[in-house]
């Protein structure tokens, strides 16, 4: 288990694989618990009730290196990667722009590029993943039911790129 602390964003993890095996990886600052489930996914919580969010693999889904890195760091590894952004744009145009508009300014769904957000956790990659994967209210459906976690990270990276 690697514990990559991003510059300026030290993280603390507790890993619970299988039964009760746990590991604390150090540093001060934000902390979250990593549970068993999908190859050591962190403990995510729902943006609407803060309850646990169960991470399930889609049929045939594999944990990619990018997802694993995200589990370990809480950071979306695809941010700023041109190829990943192109893939994220393609997914965004298919699933997101109808509600959030091509430029992310929002219509049926809220703006993704403003300075204030309905869910404050949107500003962190972990929080944005929780919103996209687990869904929020109504039409912001849980995209974890249709997209792999790797695809979600690609979309997230593209969304981050929309804010100029």
């Amino acid at each position: 288990m690697k514990s990559n602390s991003m510059p300026g964003r030290p993280l603390r993890f507790a890993i619970l694989r299988g039964s009760v095996r746990s590991l604390l990886a150090s540093a001060a600052g934000i902390s979250f618990v990593v549970l068993a489930g999908a190859a050591g996914a962190p403990q995510f919580t729902s943006p609407i009730d803060n309850g646990p969010l169960e991470i399930k693999l889609l049929p045939g889904e594999k944990i990619t290196e990018g997802v694993q890195k995200f589990y370990e760091t809480g950071q979306d590894p695809y941010k700023g990667d041109p190829q990943a952004l192109a893939e994220g744009k393609d997914l965004y145009e298919t699933y997101c722009q109808a509600c959030h508009m091509p430029d992310g300014s929002g219509r049926i769904g809220p703006s993704l590029i403003g300075d204030t957000h309905h869910y404050p956790r949107f500003t962190t990659d972990k929080g944005m993943f929780e919103i996209v994967y687990g869904g929020a209210t109504g039409a912001m459906q849980p995209f974890g039911k249709r997209l792999t976690q790797d695809q979600i990270l690609h979309v997230m990276a593209y969304v981050r790129s929309l804010k100029k």
Binding site: D49, Q97, A139, Q141
Partner: protein
């Protein structure tokens, strides 16, 4: 203990009476209910999952035949049965995707198209008739109301052969655009079939359908499907509001009052029960009182719930597209003024921005009202329930006899995209949700499966039940 029980019973009766008092249609805009109100008793409810595995469920109904079966419409053109113990039967009750060798009978190219609704004949146990309403592929998206007869030897599966053999097209309504089809069909307490049709689509009612009595779009229709001879598609009840006014007649220029002239509507569609509606996707009768609730999906500003008393004679004009409920159409700013046309809604709630560049609402907003049904059980005691497609809010609308006005209360905000609801034979209100898109529609079988939910008293959630996630 017995005394306490008796007192509680008396209190309960008094409470029920107090909530069921003399309801009235608002006479002025300030009598319309807005978010922030409280139903009598401030009820707490929960949505408990009955079944899932449903592809884009967009309609639900009971056969009221004592079987407890719940019939769920899947947009693609299938009706699925959920048994009274919550089991989803694998084989569809009805499958319109297979009856035509040339392809699906149902047009599903846009998310508002598909198989919207099923209703069972009031005499279903004897005649086996049920009716479905869908957008037809062979008829280029026209709305078809089809009657099919169940083979009593196969009560849970109507074979393709049985559909073809017994099918009777009751009504075919051409559709100019792919949206605002409306869609619900229900039998009223009078035994007539009521049909909600949207204004034909596009946006802004470009055909002026809501106010045009010569078209069936933008209306609630009422027909008699119990005909003496099946060569007759249906009959128009004589007491429909325009049944007599629509007749052609000899011209008289003199000896007729202006009031009498104003009531002549030659050429009007006699099937019309009410008009001035935009997209009344769901409507429900209160099975206890006979009152009618219509949830009319609005355009960019307000969502409306209309109400008719049980003794309505029909003919109500709900104002679209001269108004958007209690508001102007178009609404251009916070102080837009306009005359009020027709009958006001009893309740409304705004979109996030109820007029262009309005400050964004922080709470109590949505985008598409989906009526679910009247809950004649505690703690709702006659409240009409509605969900919002965008925001997942569950609303309750009820008459507050103490305040002598309607109240609109947000009961909870859920994770569900509500698509339809209805009242079952046990009286409970159920809802279905999809995981579908609007303009980015992926197709009726491409989305994650939706589910069927029951609205229950929050203090009586069965042990182990899955409850819809709500905002805390």
């Amino acid at each position: 203990m017995r005394v306490m029980t008796a007192m509680a019973a008396v209190a309960a009766i008094c409470f029920a009476v107090s909530t069921a008092g003399a309801q009235t249609v608002p006479k002025s805009r300030d009598e319309v209910a807005y978010p922030g109100g409280h139903l009598p008793g401030n009820p707490k409810v929960a949505l408990v999952k009955i079944a899932d595995g449903l592809h884009d469920p967009v309609g639900v109904a009971s056969a009221f035949d004592g079987s407890g079966r719940i019939f769920v419409c899947e947009r693609v053109g299938r009706v699925r049965i959920v048994t009274k113990d919550g089991k989803l039967l694998a084989k569809p009750f009805l499958d319109l995707t297979k009856i035509n060798p040339l392809g699906n009978e149902v047009q599903t190219g846009f998310v508002e198209q598909g198989l919207w609704s099923i209703a069972f004949d009031p005499d279903f146990k004897k005649n086996g008739y049920f009716y479905v309403h869908y957008s037809s592929l062979p008829f280029n998206g026209a709305g078809v109301i089809l009657r099919v007869t169940v083979d009593p030897n196969s009560p849970d599966v109507v074979s393709s052969e049985q559909v073809v053999k017994t099918a009777k097209i009751v009504m075919l309504i051409p559709q100019p655009y792919y949206n605002h089809n409306g869609g619900m069909i229900q039998f009223g307490p009078d035994g007539y079939l009521y049909i909600s049709r949207g204004d034909g689509g596009w946006e802004g009612d470009p055909l002026n359908a809501g106010q045009d009595l010569h078209v069936l779009w933008g209306k609630l229709l009422r027909i008699n499907v119990h005909v003496p001879d099946d060569s007759i598609p249906y009959l128009v009840p004589n007491d429909n509001p325009f049944a007599q006014a629509a007749r052609n007649r000899l011209m008289f220029l003199f000896g007729v009052t202006e009031e009498a002239f104003s009531k002549i509507k030659m050429g009007a569609k006699p099937e019309i029960w009410a008009y001035g509606l935009r997209n009344p996707y769901q409507f429900h009768f209160d099975k206890k009182t006979g009152n009618l609730f219509i949830a009319d999906v609005g355009q960019n500003s307000w969502e409306n719930i209309f109400w008719q008393p049980h003794d309505s004679k029909g003919g109500e004009n709900y104002g679209w597209s001269l108004n958007a409920g209690a508001h102007c159409f178009p609404i251009t700013g916070p102080n837009t003024t306009c005359p009020q046309v027709g009958v006001l809604p009893i309740a409304n709630y705004p979109h996030e921005q109820p007029y262009p560049d309005a400050p964004k609402e922080k709470t109590g907003f949505g985008c598409a009202v989906i009526g679910l049904g009247v809950a004649n059980y505690a703690p709702l005691n006659g409240a009409y329930l509605a969900g919002d497609w965008c925001s997942g809010r569950l609303w309750g609308v009820g008459w507050d006899n103490a305040a002598k006005k309607w109240q609109l209360q947000e009961l909870e905000q859920t994770q569900l995209q509500f698509t339809a609801g209805n009242v079952l034979e046990d009286g409970s209100v159920v809802a279905v949700n999809c995981y579908c898109f609007y303009t980015a529609d992926q197709g009726p079988l491409a989305n994650p499966v939706g589910a069927l939910w029951r609205v229950v008293d929050a203090s009586k959630v069965p042990a182990g039940a899955e409850v819809a996630r709500t905002v805390k």
